[in-house]
Symmetry: C2
Amino acid sequence: MVAIGEASRLSGVSIETIRYYEREGIVSKAGRTSSGRRLFTDAEIAELRFIKRCRDLGFSVHDAVALKSIARKPNDACQSVEQLGRKHLTNIQEKIGELRQLESALTELVSNCEQGRKQCPMLHALMSQTDLEIGEAPFSKL
Amino acid sequence: MVAIGEASRLSGVSIETIRYYEREGIVSKAGRTSSGRRLFTDAEIAELRFIKRCRDLGFSVHDAVALKSIARKPNDACQSVEQLGRKHLTNIQEKIGELRQLESALTELVSNCEQGRKQCPMLHALMSQTDLEIGEAPFSKL
DNA sequence: CTTGCTCCTGTAGTCACTACAGGATGCATG
DNA sequence: CATGCATCCTGTAGTGACTACAGGAGCAAG
């Protein structure tokens, strides 16, 4: 049974974020001392670490909570996990694709810039009537 | 001189977003008819399109506004633009790197999943004491 | 007893929008 | 001229996932 500072150190989740997770019902509520301070069991610290791992893999909090609840029912757990994981993997790959397009578009725009030029080709492209060869702004937040 | 709906169509910026941009001082305030409806000049539509282009390239609104004001003063414009552009390009490349790490970590985790398995290896990794071989959650929002 | 650390609640800010609610105006048709 | 529908207005609240205080209380060591 440790206080919130130690729980934070052990789980890698910041104190403010732990309180936020509790408030939002993302993790279970920790017990309290008589004076109202939170006390964390090993299981609760593991829960925090689990969420942190999921977040570090880029899963949304929503998905992290889903994975946590899948982990508690043994039936078909692996299948559900794989489904969520593959969906997320697809999102990541799409995002990489989007960013690579941005990268190449921006590389080209910047490559024509030179110190002392009177007309900046990148500004010119940004101001032109014709469309650039890129899509809409990236939606996914990852 | 066109109304907001037409300005939206011409610039690709949604009506709600145009009003938001005006409210926040991101673009200059449009004139109004006697009854209070906004009227947009060609220059104001070009301004909206400029911001949209920047956003589509992944620049923050802050940077987009900076680029817009750089575009108005001809001295060293190209140099300032290049600087912002290269900085942003670096961010994009870092982000791609982060996502590739996520991709490979997740690919490995998911690859061991099989339907009907009793112990899910991905859940096991998420719950283990030892650290995963990935960094912190991605910060940059792009 | 005092100092300094940790902890508490509650609120506001971040970023860049999006989504209404509730009402006014403008235009075309009957 | 009345009706109906599209378009417009303001203002507010919600999104995701936190972060950053303000203002106060508790605890342990010297």
